[in-house]
């Protein structure tokens, strides 16, 4: 007898509707899965056979053929277990082909079976559900363990099931299951950051720069000697990032879901990824035989912080260039062509020179060696950094005396306000922040008056600023103007923005 059940296959973040066809006929007892399954799908045979037996159902020894159609799409992952099992049970007559509870025409099943007949959680439930809606699926059956993740979604009936027995009883109308309800409490839940800017004494300049970076989504660079607190400051950045919108949260959770990092709860804050410098390019941008999202995609709508930047392999870093520009990464493999979004804020930190102490008496590097060290950051990458700021050594004695510092909460309130100004201004432009401004939009939104233009000319003349610095300065000035609640960029905004281009300045490396 023939049966047909629907499921969803994910390729990157894109889903396609898969029809699981099962035929059971008499003949030599045999079991075949066709339709481009990968190893984890092929293995499902054993899991399904044992799980069915352990659910107190006796399968007859017959010839079973499972086809996953369309046959040209690659199927991977263990979540095909459930639809295949349902198909077999239906083909052998254990469950109804027409049920009041479920219309098989537009119902998709996903879930991994355990040998005892229970259903295990899977990765990627959120993107599967979202894609299911797009593909016209009306009902989806998912593992109960993934219900929190799915509770973000509206527009589709979602049932969470715990065991094979439960879903069989549901289809056979013996029991009734409660649909998973939309749950927004995760979104409204207050963010708890255990790191706070209040703990950082001094370093006002860096704090200000990070606030600007957070408000405008600018890529930033921290330069400072060991022990000055670069990493400490950067790690506190998430606590002042603007609150994500619901759509952003969905996207963030989707990617984390595919990577298996969701752990049955909604991600309710912007991600902050800080990979070690030994990371491979594949781990950074994504890839593998079945392309997985890399760190840049996991940092989508959040921050990717590369500590000790010059220690990263050069090829790894150069792989960042196109995704930084395109805000998405297309991973081409022989058998797959996957696209992941990666609209992240890049933060990097580095020492000022090879020995690490340039600018103090301790430094033993020659002028040339400092230049050589800084040359490790390639021009094209430097092009994409809007804010460069120096983290200075602070005097221990002064730290103790210093008065109370602002809390992250206070800073975040301001950042939220500034980000909302930008969202409002750019609502027709498909961009979210000042850092996304393209040259044509800059002409529209960053008009400079004559005084500002003369400042830029003067800066070019005196500081010998490179041309690449201009665009960055104007974008940062736009954010500073927003922080000042000014619709126009004024001289002071521009002057402050120039201050955050330390490395571009002629005198950065002085006479040694």
């Amino acid at each position: 007898m023939l049966s047909e059940v629907k499921t969803i296959a994910l390729n990157g973040l894109l889903g396609s509707l898969i029809s699981v066809q099962v035929d059971i006929s008499s003949g030599m007892p045999n079991w075949n899965i066709v339709g481009l399954p990968d190893a984890s799908v092929k293995e499902s045979k054993e899991r399904i056979r044992v799980a069915i037996r352990n659910s107190n159902i006796k399968l007859l020894s017959k010839k079973i053929v499972v086809n996953l159609a369309p046959a040209d799409i690659r199927k991977e992952g263990a979540y095909f277990d459930l639809p295949i099992a349902i198909g077999i049970l239906m083909a052998s007559g254990y469950i109804k082909t027409k049920s009041k509870n479920i219309n098989f025409e537009n119902t998709a099943f996903v879930g991994e079976l355990l040998l005892n007949g229970k259903i295990n959680s899977i990765n990627g439930v959120l993107p599967i559900c979202i894609e299911a809606i797009k593909l016209g699926v009306k009902t989806i059956i998912i593992p109960k363990k993934n219900k929190e993740e799915a509770s973000l979604i509206k527009g589709i009936k979602i049932y969470g099931v715990d065991s094979l027995k439960e879903i069989m009883d549901f289809i056979n109308e013996k029991i009734y299951l409660q649909q998973i309800e939309i749950n927004k409490k995760y979104i409204n839940r207050k963010n708890n950051y255990n790191l706070d800017f209040r703990d950082v004494k001094g370093q006002e300049n860096v704090k200000r720069a990070l606030e600007i970076a957070a408000a405008g989504g600018h890529n930033f660079m921290l330069i400072g000697s060991p022990g000055t607190g670069k990493t400490m400051l950067a790690k506190r950045l998430p606590s002042i990032l603007p609150d994500p919108t619901f759509e952003e949260l969905l996207e963030i959770t989707k990617i984390h879901s595919i990577a298996g990092l969701v752990n049955n709860e909604i991600i309710n804050k912007r991600p902050f990824r800080i990979p070690h410098h030994t990371i491979s390019s594949t781990a950074l941008v994504g890839g593998g035989k079945n392309p997985k999202p890399g760190e840049i995609s996991l940092a989508h709508y959040g921050v990717l912080f590369l500590d000790e930047f010059p220690e990263f392999r050069k090829s790894t870093l150069e792989a960042l260039r196109t995704p930084l520009e395109d805000k998405e990464i297309i991973i081409n493999r022989l058998q797959a062509n996957v696209k992941y979004p990666c609209n992240f804020m890049l933060g990097i930190s580095l020492n000022p020179c090879a020995c690490g102490y340039y600018g103090t008496n301790k430094c033993k590097c020659s002028k040339e060696s400092v230049q050589r060290y800084l040359a490790k950051i390639s021009g094209p990458l430097l092009d994409r950094i809007d804010i460069q700021v120096l983290v200075e050594n602070i005097d221990y004695k002064k730290i103790i005396k210093n008065n109370k510092e602002e809390t992250s909460e206070q800073i975040r309130k301001r950042v939220n306000k500034v980000r909302n100004i930008q969202l409002e201004r750019y609502k027709k432009e498909q961009i979210f922040s000042n850092s996304d401004l393209m040259p044509n939009l800059m002409e529209k939104y960053c008009k400079l008056n004559d005084k500002c233009k003369s400042i830029l000319e003067k800066a070019a003349d005196r500081l010998e600023l490179s041309t690449r610095a201009y665009e960055k300065i104007i974008k940062v000035a736009r954010t500073i103007a927003d922080m000042d609640d000014s619709s126009q960029i004024k001289e002071n905004h521009l002057l402050e923005a120039i201050q955050y281009r330390s490395l571009d300045k002629k005198y950065y490396i002085g006479e040694k």
Partner: protein, 294 residues
């Protein structure tokens, strides 16, 4: 601009007596400075941090004792010497190797203005429109040493313009004072050689004063300072905030955070002012330190 012929009364006596004195001097600013006791402070253009600091300190100390500091307004030690004097509100004379309309190096236009605003003077033997040329710098050096009673060499490399000035000074019978250096320092090779050949090794400004038989006359100095501060117009064009920052930085190099803390101002305000001053050439930022542009 004043033109001074070699036969005129105001033409500096010391200069007139050298081997080949300039036939004519073009002078901007206060001509009275020519009558004062003068010491020139010279040294490398590519000077070390320590050299700059020493030049500034010596210049300050000498200037506060009423000595007029002569130098060539080049980058490095020369600038430090002029600034040292200016910070003490002392008199200083810059001798140019070009006409007044072609100030070299151009970065020092601000220093040029400051010298004039502080009752100093600028001297050149070239007509205002003449351009700087390499031979003129050597020619200029004979005036620097010729104008003054002694020459203090702060730093000099093996072959350098500074060594040439020191040679002029010896030929002109001027005292040559030298700061000793570590034997490994390239900028110390010249000064160490001068000491070997009989220059006077000095480690404190007082030693120069003693050599010149100048006793600290506290009363007259004070009077002079009062007189100066009354007519001090050097910072005229700056607003109060800029002045405050400049004064603070003249005393010590600071980072922007330290500056904000010291002046009790918001960091963004400091950043704005600092950039403005940097664009005006008042300060430079090297690594994380902000310092006045000398």
């Amino acid at each position: 601009m004043i033109e001074l012929d070699i036969n005129q009364k105001d033409y500096p006596e010391l200069l007139r007596n050298i081997k080949n004195p300039p036939k004519k001097l073009y002078i901007l600013g206060n001509i009275d400075n020519l009558k004062k006791t003068k010491i020139s402070i010279i040294g490398s253009r590519a000077a070390s941090q320590m050299g700059m600091k020493r030049a500034k300190e010596f210049s300050k100390e000498l200037a506060s004792n009423g000595i007029c500091i002569v130098s060539g307004m080049a980058k490095g030690i020369d600038s430090a010497a002029h600034w040292g004097s200016l910070l003490e509100k002392g008199r200083t004379i810059a001798v140019l190797a070009s006409g007044f309309n072609n100030i070299y190096p151009r970065e020092n236009k601000f220093l040029y203005d400051e010298i004039l605003a502080n009752k100093g003077c600028i001297i050149s033997e070239y007509k205002p429109d003449e351009k700087p040329e390499s031979y003129k710098f050597i020619q200029r050096n004979r005036i620097v040493s010729g104008l003054s009673r002694g020459v203090l060499v702060v730093e000099a490399a093996y072959r350098s313009g500074t060594s040439i000035t020191a040679k002029f000074a010896t030929q002109q019978n001027r005292k040559v004072y030298c700061l000793p250096h570590n034997i490994e320092e390239t900028n110390g090779v010249g000064t160490n050689r001068l000491i070997k050949n009989g220059a006077i090794l000095v480690t404190k400004p007082e030693e120069i004063l003693k050599e010149l038989n100048i006793v600290k006359n506290s009363k007259s100095i004070k009077q002079e300072q009062v007189e100066h501060s009354k007519s001090n117009i050097s910072f005229e064009n700056m607003d109060n905030e800029t002045k405050e920052i400049f004064r603070t930085l003249a005393k010590e190099e600071l980072t922007v955070n330290q500056l904000a803390l010291k002046l009790n101002k918001d960091i963004s305000v400091i950043n704005i002012l600092i950039t403005k001053m940097e664009l005006d050439g008042l300060i430079i930022q090297e690594s994380d330190r902000v310092k006045i542009n000398i």
